[in-house]
């Protein structure tokens, strides 16, 4: 078996590890015997390989695998699962955002009534009389309430509250009801 010079040089590691076949080993040694460059290189390589590596001892070899395992498992537990948390919370956050948008756009009132504050303020006004509202105020109020879904017409109020019952009472019956409530010192209405 004939080897080229370059092929021999590529096989130094195998030769030093004694992993060449007998036939290859024989051809290798034949070449090295006649080639000064390869002889010198092989001498350097075998010198390097024979340099000892200090042995850290059996205790080190026996404990290292378990130590690494413990550290890897410890680190795994400590690591904050940012990725998985993001994946978990993205749908919930999206649902919340949609809900928020629906709440704002669906139930919001359109603008603020542009009325006299002394009329609108419940702390300063105890009751309303027709004279408190100007014609302009009534017009603005009518315009604004027309588009308000929560606004109820007076007849609706009569249908769904006790106001309807009061409306059906005569003035005498109302008077006796008032007296009865006053006697029992009960506030209400």
């Amino acid at each position: 078996m004939n080897f080229r010079h370059d092929e021999i040089r590529e096989r130094f590691p195998e030769y030093l590890k004694s992993s060449l076949s007998d036939e290859m080993k024989k051809a290798f040694e034949l070449h090295v015997r006649d080639c000064a460059a390869c002889r010198s290189e092989l001498s350097i390589m075998s010198g390097l390989v024979s340099i000892d590596v200090p042995d850290p001892g059996n205790l080190y070899w026996a404990t290292l695998p378990r130590k690494v395992e413990a550290l890897v498992n410890g680190e795994k537990k400590q690591r904050f699962p940012v990725k998985s948390l993001l994946i978990k919370f993205i749908p919930a956050a999206a649902a919340f955002a949609i809900l928020l948008v629906l709440l704002i756009t669906g139930t919001g009132r359109d603008g603020v009534y542009d009325l006299n504050t002394s009329v609108n303020d419940p702390f300063t006004v105890t009751y309303l009389e027709d004279g408190d509202l100007t014609d302009e105020d009534i017009y603005v109020l009518a315009e604004k309430t027309a588009g308000d879904s929560l606004y109820m017409e007076p007849e609706d109020i009569l249908d769904y509250s006790y106001h309807g019952e009061f409306a059906s009472l005569s003035s005498g019956e109302m008077e006796s009801l008032y007296e009865a409530l006053k006697t029992e010192q009960t506030k209400g209405g």
Binding site: R9, S40, L48, S50, I51, L64, P65, V68, E69
Partner: protein, 180 residues
């Protein structure tokens, strides 16, 4: 294939695979790191650090190269970053160790040891890429292709580094009166 199976077992949550992988490669990794940094105590720490880095990054192992190549790559980067951080300290420790050990032995042993120490020192004086090419090829017995995989370069570059290293070693030793 056996390594890949162990990696898959670890990825599937079997932490026992860690022990098997460390047991299989710990001696090789330690020797490799020691040859690069020349400090046995630091080599112990860096071996542990290498395995921790390996398991931390195991999700990024693409199985295109062999597990061994990938492991050596991590060990090499860990060692090189250690050298970068402790450049002055490494040389000092190494010289002190040589002097103390030389005083202890008999004359013939000291001479042989001195020859080996010069060789070791000559290796440490080589440029980093050349030193790595020699360590991976001569000590670890990796092929040119595997060495190229670890060093992240082409096979041609590995060959160039390796031959320049051998030439460099020969010249350094010649200057000190040693013929190899």
């Amino acid at each position: 294939m056996e390594d890949i199976r162990l990696v898959e077992r670890y990825c599937n949550g079997e932490s026992g695979a860690i022990e098997e992988l460390v047991l299989k490669y710990q001696k090789q990794v330690y020797a490799f790191i020691y040859r690069i940094i020349n400090d046995p105590e630091e080599a112990k720490d860096l071996t542990q650090k290498t395995f921790l880095k390996l398991f931390k990054a195991i999700g990024s192992f693409r199985k295109e190269s062999s597990f061994k190549t990938w492991l050596y790559q991590i060990a090499m980067n860990t060692s090189l970053s250690y050298i970068g951080q402790n450049r002055d300290r490494t040389t000092e420790t190494e010289l002190q160790g040589t002097i103390i050990e030389s005083q202890a032995g008999a004359l013939s042993l000291v001479m042989e040891k001195e020859r080996m120490d010069y060789l070791k020192k000559a290796l440490s004086e080589l440029p980093e890429r050349q030193k790595l090419a020699v360590i991976l090829r001569a000590y670890e017995g990796l092929s040119c292709k595997e060495t190229a995989g670890v060093m992240g370069c082409s096979e041609g570059t590995v060959k160039a580094h390796y031959h320049a290293a051998v030439k460099g070693l020969r010249n350094i030793l010649k200057e000190r009166g040693y013929e190899f």
